[in-house]
Symmetry: C2
Subunit: 386 residues, 2 copies
DNA sequence: GCCACTTACTTTCGTCGCGGAAGAATTATG
DNA sequence: CATAATTCTTCCGCGACGAAAGTAAGTGGC
């Protein structure tokens, strides 16, 4: 499969390096590129010429940032023609499919959602193809599709196991490729978000980078040297055994005091419900904590300390340049930010480098955008394998 | 400074890659090398020829491992002439200097220790030069000196801060270079041990590798992509803020329940002493725990669980291919191995890859050998900077 | 308005390193 | 003894790169 009809190939490795550098790090002059890539000025003329001729790069007239030096011949920034190709990203949830169209730079230019009333693989693929057709009308230059699914994905093509869809070994990429004729990449949703942040988001250009997602579960993504590290237990109840507080609460889905019990949205809701008997939403609990409701303050405070503990441990052991908190549950940071910081301070050496913590509230379209980035990577790198 | 008189230079990058591969991964045929380095057979002939002519490599007659295939022209293993050059490694402690002479492969061929009765930098350098002179008589082909010191070392040359020697900004490399005429590398002792294990020991060829040392303090070394990750707090009381058990013991040197309090040799001795009032050695405590003495069993058991907790956390977050436990305090593993394993199991996902834990009892000569490896690296790589 | 100066980019040319193909060396197999 | 298999060598050509010289396009001084 993996019909790479309209890839950027053939691109030499040097040309590809230039293309990626411009794609990821915005408009850059040839001299800047030469410095960043460790090449001579002459090589850059050679490498950029075919890229400009093929329409992938342009000499953008208005430089984004005015150069410091105001002497000599002005530099000529090169930019990607971000609109030259479009990409589709889908995020499949239990009852909805969220779709976005992005540019090469992964900027969202359109959204399109549809309810999902079946989990039958063929029917799901039909729906995705239908949505693709509808989006293709407004965005004809589609170059690829990325699909994010909660669950285990193999070889960026086959959904090996997805409990919430009741799927096992579904060759989703193939099913959608057949129906659309476009190259398709399938990936675990957290992995897709991590890749997206590594290329275009918080992790751009960092050699060590961690993503922690808080939502229905806890997700962890480790990026070293620009590559995400895969691991066996990802998306199979990750965080169930990360014990943040040995004497912490116990919930149906996690071990006592585990990240899942203390931090995930279901874990927090379960705790409040178990104590008060009332069914409340996550937002209500956060609001309650902000207003001083004792029960909510306690649960959210403990969650904050647990998060701080995890962040401190990650910082101590992995020493990432940055940690990104993402997912639907990061609203916690606004209410319990103080508790988080305090827990970090307590478990980190005073001389250690400060933790660069970034928070990003993500909705389902962000997850879909993550999947679209995978399609971009495939086009640019010319391979679906990571 | 950094007088690289007798380096292997000039070596092209390709030649250097071949040399390192043979040095680190034992005798290898040209075909093997071609596969490992991703080069063609022709390139290997080209690259190895000057290395053989210069006497660095030889065609070792007896292949270490007989090839599987017994057909066709037999392969011709290439090997480093390990004895062609010698290296000295020193480990400086409070009252002793431990010295070793190693081959290019970092095999120890001689040991030589001397008491240290002064901390005056010039006098220490005198002593090191004197010991070098004595060793040089039996091993004339000395190519470099590596020195391991507990404390903060800058640019592999200057001891920025070493509490136990009461040093600040001592240009030790320069002092010893002046006296010996040999290139000298100075490094923090833990960092040196980590480098040694990465090149020649447990971490050989691994992309993610962690070293945890247990001794007077707790040391941590993270190796990613073959490079050790430096960090600000190293050797400044590292592990004082790694809380393994929030309700654990408190000792003079560490926070409550920290790795230093629960695991380091002084921490364990302090606990037993505080409880019994008697001054006992670490070995006596281990023996007591093995024999069933309740107090020792409790302290050592808690230490084992703390170690397991740390190992599990490191595994969860860093996902190293292997974790090496080293230092003088790893005897703990023999007595409390069961507790360690249990704690790891409890805090690790059942589907996660099993932790490859390796234990290495190290004496001071191993630390000295680690320093010698740094000298080897400098010679091979041609630079003292990491 | 002219000229020096600075910086960015282009052109040209030589070199180096690599892969590929063909061939030599050296063994097992029938 | 021919054939196959495997390793290593030789040779050639290509392609990517850097160095250096040349061109372009500005600023600033007089």
């Amino acid at each position: 499969m993996t019909a790479l009809a309209a890839s950027w190939l053939p691109l030499s490795s040097g040309e590809r390096a230039v293309a990626i550098e411009v794609l990821v790090h915005g408009p850059l002059s040839r001299t800047d590129l030469a410095r960043r890539l460790g090449l001579s000025a002459g090589s850059l003329t050679r490498l950029t010429k075919p890229l400009i001729e093929s329409g992938l790069l342009v000499e953008s007239a208005e430089g984004a940032t005015l150069p410091e030096v105001r002497q000599g011949r002005p530099s000529q920034p090169l930019d990607i023609v971000a609109e030259s190709r479009s990409f589709i990203g889908f995020k499949i949830t239990d009852d909805m499919v969220y779709g976005v169209v992005t540019t090469l730079r992964s900027e969202i230019v359109a959204r399109h959602d549809r309810p999902l009333d079946t989990h039958e693989p063929e029917r799901v693929a039909d729906l995705l193809a239908e949505m693709t057709g509808e989006l293709a009308r407004a965005h004809p230059s589609l170059a690829g599709i990325g699909i994010g699914v909660g669950g285990l994905v193999r070889r960026r093509a086959v959904v090996g196991e997805s409990p919430f869809l009741s799927w096992r070994d579904v060759p989703l990429a193939e099913l959608v490729e057949e129906r659309t004729g476009l190259p398709v990449v399938v990936e675990n949703d957290v992995a897709a978000l991590v890749e997206a942040e590594t290329w275009f988001g918080a992790g751009r250009g960092l050699d060590r980078f961690v993503v922690l997602t808080i939502g229905a579960g806890i997700g962890y993504g480790l990026v070293l040297g620009g590559k995400r590290v895969p691991y066996a237990e990802e998306d199979r109840g990750f965080g169930r055994h990360w014990i943040a507080d040995p004497s912490g609460p116990l919930t149906p889905e996690g071990e006592r005091g585990s990240a899942v019990s203390m931090l995930s949205i279901p874990g927090i809701r379960y705790q409040v419900q178990a104590a008060t008997g009332r069914e409340v939403t996550y937002e209500e609990i956060l609001a309650g904590a902000a207003e001083g409701d004792p029960m909510c303050v306690r649960v959210i405070g403990e969650a904050g300390r647990a998060l701080g503990t995890l962040v401190a441990q990650i910082s101590n052991f992995v020493m990432p340049r940055k940690i990104l908190l993402a997912g639907e549950g990061v609203g916690l940071m606004e209410v319990a930010g103080e508790a988080v910081d305090e827990a970090i301070r307590a478990q980190r050496h005073p001389l250690a480098a400060p933790v660069r913590l970034e928070t990003k509230v993500s909705d389902f379209h962000d997850w879909a955008r993550g999947a679209a980035v995978l399609a971009i990577q495939v086009l640019v790198l010319g391979t679906a394998e990571p």
